[in-house]
Structures are given as structure tokens and as C-alpha cells.
């Protein structure tokens, strides 16, 4: 189960000595089902997490594969759309599919998830239409999905801010009496997503303090993708990020973030703890950002391509595909079917993006406040008159001569 061979974990002895929980190996073998490894794994993550992994059916595993494959296909299409000038920016999730799909699938329908700006697979799992994610990057809106219906809060672009929102939301859950009742449909956990870079933010540390103080039902899901744009995680963390949890007074565990089974099982157990009123957990999903930070980034300036190649051997989809083929008799037809579904989703997404309406200028004045505000209304009136003036012989617009 422990792996000390991650290429990016060699920066310090503290990092390389940390146990990283793995259940599905890069070769596609299940360690948690190996009698010789179970005791060691159980000591690391508890019997509950192992039971959750063991309960996964072939259909569940195929469902995970499908989610990851669709997310990757959406990601590829979004990158292409950005390159073609249809999106202003795209933050690729390539390589992080297992961490996102595993954790999101661990959440119950009533749970609330607070993403960063890269949780596209989390959104997909929760039923968010990918077009509603891309509309943010096209500049049409701030993300068009319904947070209440999907349980996914809006993307947050200030690094780490959302961990406090998640903690506060969890404090509200406590006040609603929605923890520790034993009612599986009522007890609620909150998942707070953030990255290795965010782990340096004061807000993240304050979220840890508040969550620990109030024993709030939060699972902190840190996707350590090794790179905060150009700065490697070992330059920001002298100890494994998961180990920081101990200093705040709650459990922390590092899982192989490219292992969807471990990510699911460990987050599921942590969410169960949260729902039972046993407080927060930090799960560090040790993964890798295979692509650039965003489409505006050039990782060739700061990291060697050999590192990327090493991580390619740990690909989260390839290992689950190998496992499904070898142990569950899933064949070419099924994988082709999933690929076809992905292509259809990508085509639909492309059509939706190209067909997105342009926001009307009136929209910028909407919802600045929940109740009418005199300054907003005055500027709206002025702007409407100004625009009307342009249309009726005001200053030339779009290069046309004044009428």
C-alpha cells in the first residue's frame, strides 16, 4: 500500500517517508482485496474505508470509469475550444480525474461540495451540465448551474476562500440538527476542495481551526497536484500536507490521488464520520497536474517533461481500464461505447458553447444587491439612456458614421 516512489515526493525525507494509501495499483490490481495487504491498509484507513472499497460492484467501477472518461473528454474539448478562441481561459483537470470522481461519488445527495475552479469532474458527477461550467470560462456568466439542486457551490477563484465557506456551511448543518441523527438521508457532510498551493493560505488554516473548534462536518479534500502554477509543493510544505491535520486536532490521510478506489473509499469513510458528528478529516489526494495550470500557462518553463512522463505511467483511467478488463471481463465494446458517449457529449458541448447567447448589458446591473440599491439603479438608468442616445444619433459606434 505504501509507495515512496512518486517522482515528486523526493524533495524531502519527510515527504518520501509518508505512507500513501493505495488500493488500485497502476497495473490495475486491487491491494485492498489482497488478504496479505488488508491488515496494513486497515491500520492506515480503518475498516470502514476498506468495507466501502469492498462494496464496490463491477457496475460501480465501470461507472467511475465512465465518469472519469467523460470528464477527460469534456476537458479535451474545452482545451480545444479555448485554443480556437471560444473560451477566454480553461483550467485543465487532466490527471486529476480519480481524485475528483472518487471524492464526488463518496458524497451523499444532500451533501454540499465547495469547489475551486478545476473541479470539472466533481461537477459532472453531481449532474452539472458541462456547458454551465464552460459559460464561466467563456465570460457569459459566473457559472450557470443551480447550486441548491446539484449541491455544488459556484467555482471560487480566490485561492482557499471556499474552505471557510464550506466550514461555515457545515456549522449551519450542525445548527440544523443534520448531523449524528443516524438518518442517512438527513445527516449531511460538506466537502471542501482545495489544492497544494491553497494549503499555504491563511483562510485554509483558519478553516481547519474553525472546523476543529466546532467539530464541523467537513471533509477537506486537498488535491495535491504537485504544482502551484510553477512552484512545487515541497517548496510550500515541509511535511506532507495530510500530516498538518494532526496539529489542528483531526485525522489526516494521504491517498494515491490517481487511484479512484482509494479516493472514493477514504473520502466516503471521512464523510461518514462527518455525518455522524465526529468532526472534520483532511484527505490529501496525491496526484499530478498533467497539463498546464491553465491555458495561459507554459509548464515547459519550470518542470521537466520526464516528470510528466513518469506520472503518465500512473494514469488514473488506464489503471481502472486494466482492472476492469482483467478482473471484470469488460471488453472493447464497452470502452468503445464510453468513448462514443464522450464524443457525443463533447459535440453537444461544442454546439452549446458556440450557441451561447451573449449577455445583455443590462445583466451587469442585476443582482449586484438582493434588494434595490440607489447607486446601481442610477447607473443603470444613465447607461440605458447613453446607449439609447448612441442608437439615435449619438457618438458613432462600431465604426459607423453618425446618422
Amino acid at each position: 500500500m505504501t509507495s515512496s516512489t512518486h517522482p515528486a515526493s523526493t524533495g524531502s525525507s519527510a515527504t518520501s517517508s509518508t505512507a500513501t494509501v493505495q488500493m488500485l495499483t497502476p497495473d490495475g490490481e486491487r491491494l485492498d482485496l489482497d488478504e496479505g495487504r488488508r491488515a496494513e491498509l486497515e491500520q492506515a484507513v480503518g475498516a470502514e474505508a476498506l468495507a466501502h472499497a469492498a462494496a464496490l460492484s463491477a457496475d460501480d467501477l465501470l461507472g467511475m470509469y465512465r465518469d472519469m472518461a467523460l470528464a477527460r473528454r469534456v476537458d479535451t474539448e474545452a482545451t480545444a475550444l479555448q485554443r480556437q478562441g471560444e473560451l477566454g481561459l480553461w483550467a485543465s483537470l487532466l490527471g486529476q480525474e480519480a481524485a475528483q470522481v472518487g471524492s464526488a461519488r463518496a458524497a451523499a445527495p444532500q451533501d454540499r461540495l465547495f469547489p475551486t475552479y478545476r473541479e470539472h469532474a466533481v461537477a459532472l458527477v453531481r449532474g452539472v451540465d458541462p456547458a454551465h461550467v464552460l459559460s464561466l470560462f467563456r465570460g457569459v456568466d459566473r457559472g450557470g448551474w443551480d447550486a441548491e439542486a446539484t449541491g455544488v457551490s459556484p467555482y471560487t477563484l480566490v485561492i482557499g476562500s471556499q474552505t471557510l465557506h464550506a466550514t461555515g456551511y457545515a456549522m449551519g448543518v450542525q445548527r440544523d440538527g443534520a448531523v449524528g441523527t443516524g438518518d442517512a438521508a438527513r445527516d449531511t457532510a460538506v466537502l471542501a476542495y482545495f489544492g497544494d498551493g491553497a494549503s499555504s493560505q491563511g483562510d485554509v488554516h483558519e478553516a481547519f481551526v474553525f472546523a476543529a473548534t466546532y467539530q464541523a462536518p467537513v471533509v477537506f479534500v486537498c488535491q495535491n497536484n504537485q504544482w502551484a502554477i510553477s512552484v512545487p509543493s515541497e517548496r510550500q510544505a515541509r511535511v506532507p500536507i495530510a500530516r498538518r491535520a494532526a496539529g489542528f486536532g483531526f485525522p489526516g490521510v494521504r491517498v494515491d490521488g490517481n487511484d479512484v478506489v482509494a479516493c472514493y473509499a477514504v473520502v466516503r469513510a471521512a464523510a461518514d464520520r462527518a455525518r455522524a458528528g465526529e468532526g472534520p478529516t483532511l484527505v490529501e489526494a496525491f496526484t499530478y497536474r498533467m497539463g498546464a495550470h491553465t491555458t495561459s500557462d507554459d509548464p515547459g518553463r519550470y518542470r521537466p517533461s520526464v516528470e510528466v512522463e513518469q506520472w503518465r505511467d500512473r494514469d488514473p483511467l488506464a489503471r481502472l481500464e486494466a482492472h476492469l478488463r482483467r478482473h471484470h471481463g469488460v471488453g472493447d465494446d464497452t470502452f468503445a461505447e464510453v468513448a462514443g458517449e464522450g464524443d457525443a457529449m463533447a459535440a453537444r458541448l461544442r454546439r452549446d458553447v458556440l450557441g451561447m447567447r451573449e449577455p445583455g448589458h443590462g445583466e451587469m446591473f442585476e443582482h449586484a444587491y438582493a434588494a434595490p440599491h440607489a447607486h446601481v439603479e442610477a447607473d443603470r438608468r444613465w447607461y440605458e439612456e447613453y446607449v439609447a442616445g448612441l442608437e439615435h444619433g449619438g457618438p458613432a459606434a462600431d465604426g459607423e458614421e453618425r446618422a
Partner: protein
Amino acid sequence: MTDDVHGTPGEGGTTQRVTLSRAINLGLRAAMEKEPKVLVMGEDVGALGGVFRVTEGLAKDFGDDRVLDTPLAESGIVGTAVGLALRGYRPVCEMQFDGFVFPAFDQITTQLAKMTHRTRGAASMPVVVRIPFGGGIGAVEHHSESPETYFAHTTGLRVVSPSNPVDAYWMIQQAVESPDPVVFLEPKRHYWDKAELDTAATPYPLHRSRVVRPGTDVTVVAYGPTVPMALRAADVAAGEGRSLEVVDLRSLTPLDLGPVEESVRRTGRLVVAHEAPTFLGLGAEVAARVAETCFFSLEAPVLRVGGLAVPYPVSRLEEEYLPDADRLLDAVDRVLDT
């Protein structure tokens, strides 16, 4: 303080003489009794009752679930309040002192202020951030700041400041009822000012300014701690045969300049007073707007009286720094001499 600044008297209401601190306490208590989703959170707001005793007794009466002694982390206080609001709660956050709001600045300006817009109205943010502000109490550094411009400049926030106990009682309740985040600035040097409070009176609207002393010669605009100062200046001026009309802004955003413009059209002269530095202070905005709307009524340039372009000084110099009645009357002389 004259009685006409207070709410319309109600019938059969209980009238009591209260300090400004106590008035906010009573207002919070009323808000919490009315709406179970209202929470009070901050540093030392529980057993201690806050360093200015504004939350005294609330933890005892409403319990730890509704009155939260938080960890000492201002960003954490406001950030978790945002999350609580997303879950349907109405948190009232206390920043212990004005100078300590800045660790929460990001959560206030980039999260709290923008969440409603970001969610296209799906999530409202009924959060109040209470800040004791202003100088004059002989404090050490960071305990006498006037940070209102930072917040008034951020769309998505509402910013108000009561100048007297009666307004404080009503305005805190109105702030709690607002569906938008409200930065509530409490003039800390006046926490122990007393006034007769009739809790059955009809409150004045939150975002309306009002004439608190009628006059004919010069219009004086003030808010928070400069209102009592302006009223003292008006008394002095009256003794010298000069009639000052004092307008209490009460709301810094939205601004309600109707009463100011009506006044300036009569007096032709305007002085704006606040403790915050004059550069880019509220006075600059008031002056610009009045210049636009009352240009042909003005008999003199609009003058501002405020803090100086220096860091807030050591306490033994603060009375030199702070605008006082003398400085206000000096400005009055100048607009009258024009």
C-alpha cells in the same frame, strides 16, 4: 441631542434611558428573538459580552449555538459567516476593533460582497459586519481607524453608521433584516452616550439621511462620531449668530443626498465632516455629487473637514488629528467669507 432626531413616539411603549452600546445590545436581542436564524459571532462576544459589552448577556440568554465565541481569526469569522448564510443563517459578526477588520478584507470584499451577483441572485448574503470605528478613546495603534471608504467603494456592500443610541437600536435591527451584507460602523467614542429610547416608536428607514438640526446659513454633513461634534459646533455658531443645518448621513452606501441637496439649495454653502482622511473620503463623493446637482445654488466651494494625510497618530496627538468643532467652525467661517 435633540428629541427630533429620534423615532416617532409610539403609544404605550416602554421608554428607557440607554447608552449606545446598550441600544445595540437591545436591538440585537430583539432581532434574535424575532428570527431564530440570527446568530452573533466574534471574538469574546460570549461570556465577556464583547470588549464594549455590546453582546452582554446574549450568550446566556440565547446559548452557545447562537452566540459563538469564535477562534481569534477575522477572515475565519466572516468566511464562515458566508457559509452560514449559504445555509440560511443570518450571522452578525463582530470585528473587535476597526484596525482588525483588514484580515477579513478579502472575505468581505471578494466573497461576501459578490456572492449574490456571482449566483445571479440565488444566494443572498444577509450578514452584518459590526465594526467599532473612529478615534478619541486614547487607544494604542489600530484601535482608532475609520475604514468606511474601503467598504463603501465595494459594490455589493451596504455601509451604515448610527450617530446616537436611538438610531443604533433601530438601525442594527434593520441591518439584520437586510437581504444584503451590511457593514455597521459603531462610533466607539460614543458607546456610553445616553438617550431616551422608545422601543415602540416607528423607526426611520435605514438608508435615509435626515436633518438633525435645522438651520439657514451653512449645511453641515456628518455621520457617526462627527454628528455629535457638528451639533456642538452648531450650538457654538448659534451663539455667534450663525445658523448651521446639520444632516446626519446615517447611510454611506447607498447615499441619500436628497435632504443635503434640498438644504444646500437654501444655504448655498456646504461643509462635510468625517474622521476618515479627507483624501478619497466620503466627503469627496458628497462634494462631487452636490457640485453636479446644486452647482448654480452654491455660493462657495464645498469644504471638507476630516482626518489628515498621516497614519492615525499616537493617542497623545489624536485630538490634534481628529476634526473637532473648532475645525468645523473654521471651515464654516471660510465658506461664509467666500
